[in-house]
Assembly symmetry: C2
Homo-oligomer: 341 residues x 2
Amino acid sequence: MNDTKLIDIASALGISVTTVSKALKGYTDISKSTRARVLEMAETMNYIPNSVAVNLRTNETKTIGVIIPATVHHFFSSVLNGILEEAEKRGYLVIILQSNEKYELEKKQLALLIQKRVDGVLMSLSNETDDFTHINEAIRKNTPVVLFDKIAKRVDCSKVVINDAKAAFDAVSYLINKGYKKIAHFRGSYVPQNSIDRFLGYKRALEAHGIEYDSKLVYVCDNNTDFEDGYENAQKIMTENPDIDAIFAITDLVAIGIIKYFNEAGIKTPEQVAVFGFSNWFMSTVISPKLTTIDQPGFEMGHQAVSLLIDEIVDIKEHRPVTHQIIELPTRIIERESTVK
Amino acid sequence: MNDTKLIDIASALGISVTTVSKALKGYTDISKSTRARVLEMAETMNYIPNSVAVNLRTNETKTIGVIIPATVHHFFSSVLNGILEEAEKRGYLVIILQSNEKYELEKKQLALLIQKRVDGVLMSLSNETDDFTHINEAIRKNTPVVLFDKIAKRVDCSKVVINDAKAAFDAVSYLINKGYKKIAHFRGSYVPQNSIDRFLGYKRALEAHGIEYDSKLVYVCDNNTDFEDGYENAQKIMTENPDIDAIFAITDLVAIGIIKYFNEAGIKTPEQVAVFGFSNWFMSTVISPKLTTIDQPGFEMGHQAVSLLIDEIVDIKEHRPVTHQIIELPTRIIERESTVK
DNA sequence: TTTAAAATCGAAAACGTTTTCGAAAACTCC
DNA sequence: GGAGTTTTCGAAAACGTTTTCGATTTTAAA
C-alpha cells in the first residue's frame, strides 16, 4: 500500500510536481541533471503512475471492450486469442463481455463499456439484434465500434468478416462437382446475417449448377451450444428424406452431431451421405471420419478487428478524418474424409 | 459527444453540483422535491456518470483482472465462462490477459493490472513460474489475488482447486479395479503443481494396490496446444513397451492424441489398451471410442474464484479482517467407452 | 415571540495526474 | 555590462466526481 506519487518524489527532491511529471515524460524543458535525479528517485521509490488519474486527465483509458454473443468456445475462442494478442502488442487492455445472444443484454453491456470510458469497442452481434440504434448512438458519441463476424450491413463502421455466401457457395459447388446430387442444408436461425448468407450461398450454388432448390431439404439448427441439434435433425432427415447423399451444415458443431448420429445408426459417411461443415474448429480433425469444412480464420479476424479499431481510435484522437474499412478475410475449403469416397 | 456532467445539471437547475451529486446518490439531506427535479433533469439530459472520475475519487474500479497461462481453449474456456458470469452478476468487469506460460510475461501483466488499479486479480500460474514474489508483492500492496487451478501452495491467499492427486489416484485405482495391470502415465511437464500432483496420484495408486512403480512407463507431454504429443508418445510407447494395457493421460487432449494413433495403427481401445483422460472436455464425447475421464468443474471453478475474490475485495474495503479460503471442488469419474471392454 | 432542533443546501478540498503559460535564471554576443 | 536568447522551472487550472463540514433556513417546542 501507500503507493508513491509524484508529490512524494517532488518533496524528496525539493522540486515541484510539475517538474517531476515533465522529467518522467521526457519534456525537453527539464535539465539533464534534474531529469536524471528524478528518474533515479522514481526508481528507488518504486513509482508507478496511477492510471486512473492519467485516464481522467488525458481522457483515454487504453482499454477496449469486446462483446461476443456466445460463450467463449469454438470459433470465438480463436477470435478472442487474436484479439488478446494484437491488443497486447498495441498496448491496450481488453474487457470481455458476453451477451448470450440477447439483444437487451448486448445493449446494456455496450452502455456499460461506454460509461467505463473504453477507447473503443469490438462487437459481434447477438442473434436477436435487428435494431442498431445502440451501436449508432455509440459511434455518434465518438466511441468507435468495429463489428466482426456477425455484423449488420446497415451500420456505418468498420467491419471484418468473411464472405459467408461465397464460402457456402464454394462448399456446395464442391459437393456438386464431386458428384453429389441431393444435397441438404442444416441452416442456422433466421435472423443472423451469416446464417442467411450461408443459406443463400447454398441455394445459389444449387441453382448455378442446374439443381432445383427444394425447401424440404433445409433444416433449422438454432442451438449453438451443443451438437444435439445436428444429431436430432440428422435422425429426422433420414426418415423424411432418406435418399439425400450430402449435407452442408452451418457449423462444424452441427456437422459433428450429424456424423455422430450416422456413426451410431450405421450410416456410412461419406459413402451413403457426405457431410460438409463450416469453421474448421479444432475437433473437426478429431472426429472420425475427419470433417471436410471451410476454414474460417478466427484468429486473423481478431487481429484485424483490433487493428482497425485502434487505428480508428488514434485517428479520432489526432483529429484526422476516419475512414471505415470492410475487411473480407479469405476462406478456403479444407478437404478431409467426410466428403471423399 | 459532449456528455452531460454534474455541473450541467446543476446549472440547468440553478443549484450546486454537490446537491446534484447527493440527490443522485440518495443522500438524505436533500429534500424530496429537489431530488425529484434532479432525477428528472438527469434523465432528460441523459446523464451518465464518468466512471474514471468516480474511480479516482472512490479509489475502486469495479474491475478485476484475470491472467490465464494458456490460450483460451478447452478447460480455460469453461473457467472463463464461469468468471464472466459471476463477475457480471456481482457488477464487476473483467480484463483478460494471457501469459502464454511465460513467467516474465505473467509478472509484467500482473504489474500492469495493478497499475490499472483493478480491484483484484484472479490468476492461474504459468508452467514456468516457481518464484512467487510478484504475487506476494501484489497482496502486500493490498491488491487481493486468488489463485485457481494452477496454484502455488506457498502463496498465502485464497485458492480454488481440485484435488489433482486424489483425482488421479481415483482414476488409476479405477483402472486397477477394472483389471488393468500394466498402466502407463503420460504426464505433463515438471514444474506445474497439477502435473506433479497427478503424477503422484498415479504413483500412489499403484503402490496402494501393490503394483510396482516403473519410471519407464511415464512419458512427458509438455505441449498443451495440440494432441501431437499424445500421438507421438503413443507411437513411442507401443514400440518401447508394447505390453501395456492402459494409459492414464494428464489431459483429454493427450488422451485424444493417443486414441487417434491407436485408431490409425489398428490398436483396439480399450481391448488392447484402455485410455483414461482428464478434464472432461467437450470433445471427449465426440471421439470414438468416447473417452473415460475425470470431470473437472471449470465453470464452477470460475464462479467460485470470482466469488472469493470479490468477497475479499469488499472485506478489505470495509476494513474487515480478511480470511483466506481454499476451496477444493469435487471431481468425479466419467466412465465411457475407452476403458470398458 | 424566542429558542432549540431539524432539514436543506453549498463551498471547498480531495483523488493524482498533465499541460499551459509566465517568470526567473543562465547564457550569448557585442 | 547590458540587451537579447535560451534554459529551466513552477503556479495553477483542469479532468469529473465525492464527501466533509459549516451555514442557512425551516420547523417544532416553549
